[in-house]
Amino acid sequence: MSALLEVEAVTAGYRPDLPIITDMSVAVARGELVTIIGPNGAGKSTLIKAIAGLLKITSGAVRLEGTLRTNLEPSRMADAGIAYVPQTENIFASLTVEENLKVGAQILGGRAARERIAAAYDSFPDLTAYRRQKAAVLSGGQRQMLAVARALLTRPHLIMLDEPSAGLAPKLVTEVFQRLAALARTGVAILMVEQNAKAAMAISDRTYVLAEGRNRLDGPSAALIDDPEVAAIYLGRAGRRA
């Protein structure tokens, strides 16, 4: 089986002499919803940033649809069909909501951009009222929506989300997860990092558990959800250091 995204034994970090993640491997197939969990500081965000092209990968490979895409510039990764919603600062607060969407759609150009932006307002009607206002005024939930709406504009093959439910009210969390599951059913590959482990595993196909910059466990979410070892990775670590 050749997955849409294959990450093979990737080592990366913020400085060349200080790798944060070591030999990490992850794969996501078309239409698959994959969750990454792990304790704080495990390197989850770092992994996603490395895939998105924001960090230098010192060894290993990133393949998209079988093509090698290691250490491409972030904008080239976007061209290749990867969308990424960062954990924080995932919208441009100084730009209006409309401008945020325009930035997301600028690869498309002209007419296509306008149509997709109109469609985005249809899918996220809450944003319509804020069109001409600075994104800084949006609430946490609205910001998350804008970030996701922006990421979807280009109809990516793979969308990576870093803690999409962080800071959202429980009702919104459910809505976000349901939307993501629905999106996966349309054939988009989804890779998301979650703190909300149980809820995320409940809707995802497979789960990777990371700790201390390495792969620890992976498998079908249904099998891992009650695995005592998953809990041990969280607790064991916390217990050891406390």
Partner: protein, 326 residues
């Protein structure tokens, strides 16, 4: 022969004074990562400060306190440190480059004061006829210069030893930790701003000391000796030798000042007087090239600094990665 020996003494005194300046800058940039774009200002403040404190009383001038040289030297250094305190207080909490901009500003301001505040600085003529320390005890000026060289060397050695001790002390280790990772250092309960402030002030004071020593050597001060190019020269000396390394700093002084002196001599012999300002430009271009090319091709300088992530940073990273509360 004697001429050459005397010139060598002169050359070495200047080199030693510049070495002290470079060590001050090294403390700020090499060890703390603070960009000082106005080195010449602190040097000038030290020089004028000393001159005003030791100078003879003159009716048309403010100052002229006729203090002993040692006190004047300390006073000049203290004034330079005070100037460092003012710019650092304004900028250290902010974006890093604001300190660079502010120090550039203080250099311009000091130059203007030196040129325009006649009553204090003597304006364009400067302050002349300053007493040279213990000059009367020597039979010839040449002997005096040799002894002054020894004295300046001793002071430079003392500054060197002091700095080496300081950067190896716990304080110095924190300094490096902050330079490498301010957030990590903060999480260990160190206050980066306070420690940076201390390093910047100490560095400024050392630069002021160098200024005072220069006054003691030539016996006058004038704006000519404090042109903006000096800041660039000192920087070139620092990075050629390798910032973060005091031995390298001294080597850099020899290389750059040698280059400057030789190119100056060559130019003055080859270039007609009518083109002197262009000739000066040529020399400045050499300094600029030294800076830019070193940064590009030999960023660690001739000697360089060991690249180690200090224990403090590692400890802080581990602590941050494993919040004990969870």
């Amino acid at each position: 022969m004697l001429g050459i020996a005397l010139y060598l003494v002169f050359f070495l005194i200047v080199v030693t004074i510049y070495a002290i300046l470079v060590m001050g800058l090294n403390l700020q940039w090499g060890f703390t990562g603070l960009f000082n774009a106005g080195v010449v200002a602190f040097y000038a403040i030290g020089a004028y400060g000393t001159a005003i404190l030791i100078g003879p009383e003159r009716p048309e001038l403010i100052g002229g306190f006729e203090l002993p040289f040692a006190l004047g030297l300390l006073g000049g250094a203290a004034l330079a440190a005070l100037a460092g305190l003012v710019v650092a207080l304004a900028t250290l909490r902010l974006r890093e480059e604001y300190l660079a901009i502010a120090t550039f500003g203080i250099a311009i301001t000091v130059q203007l004061v030196a040129l325009n505040f006649d009553a204090l600085t003597g304006g364009a003529n400067g302050l002349i006829g300053l007493p040279r320390p213990m000059f009367g005890y020597f039979e010839t000026p040449n002997l005096y210069n040799v002894c002054y060289l020894v004295a300046v060397l001793a002071i430079a050695g003392a500054v060197y030893a002091l700095l080496e001790r300081a950067v190896r002390s716990p304080w110095g280790r924190v300094l490096r930790a902050i330079r490498e990772d301010a957030t990590a250092a903060r999480s260990l309960g160190k206050n980066p701003t306070a420690i940076r402030l201390q390093a910047f002030i100490l560095g400024s004071g050392i630069m002021g000391l160098a200024g005072g020593l220069y006054v003691g050597f030539i016996g006058f001060v004038s704006p000519i000796d404090f042109l903006p190019i000096l800041t660039f020269q000192i920087w070139a000396m620092l990075i050629v030798g390798g910032s973060g390394n005091n031995k390298g700093a001294v080597l850099g002084v020899l290389v750059v000042w040698g280059l400057w002196t030789i190119s100056g001599t060559l130019i003055s012999q080859v270039v007609p007087p009518s083109l002197q300002s262009q000739a000066g430009a040529g020399q400045a271009i050499i300094i600029g090239l030294v800076i830019v090319l070193t940064l590009l091709f030999r960023p660690r300088g001739l000697i360089g600094e060991e690249s180690v992530v200090s224990k403090h940073v590692r400890a802080a990273r581990v602590a941050r990665d494993n919040p004990s509360s969870s």
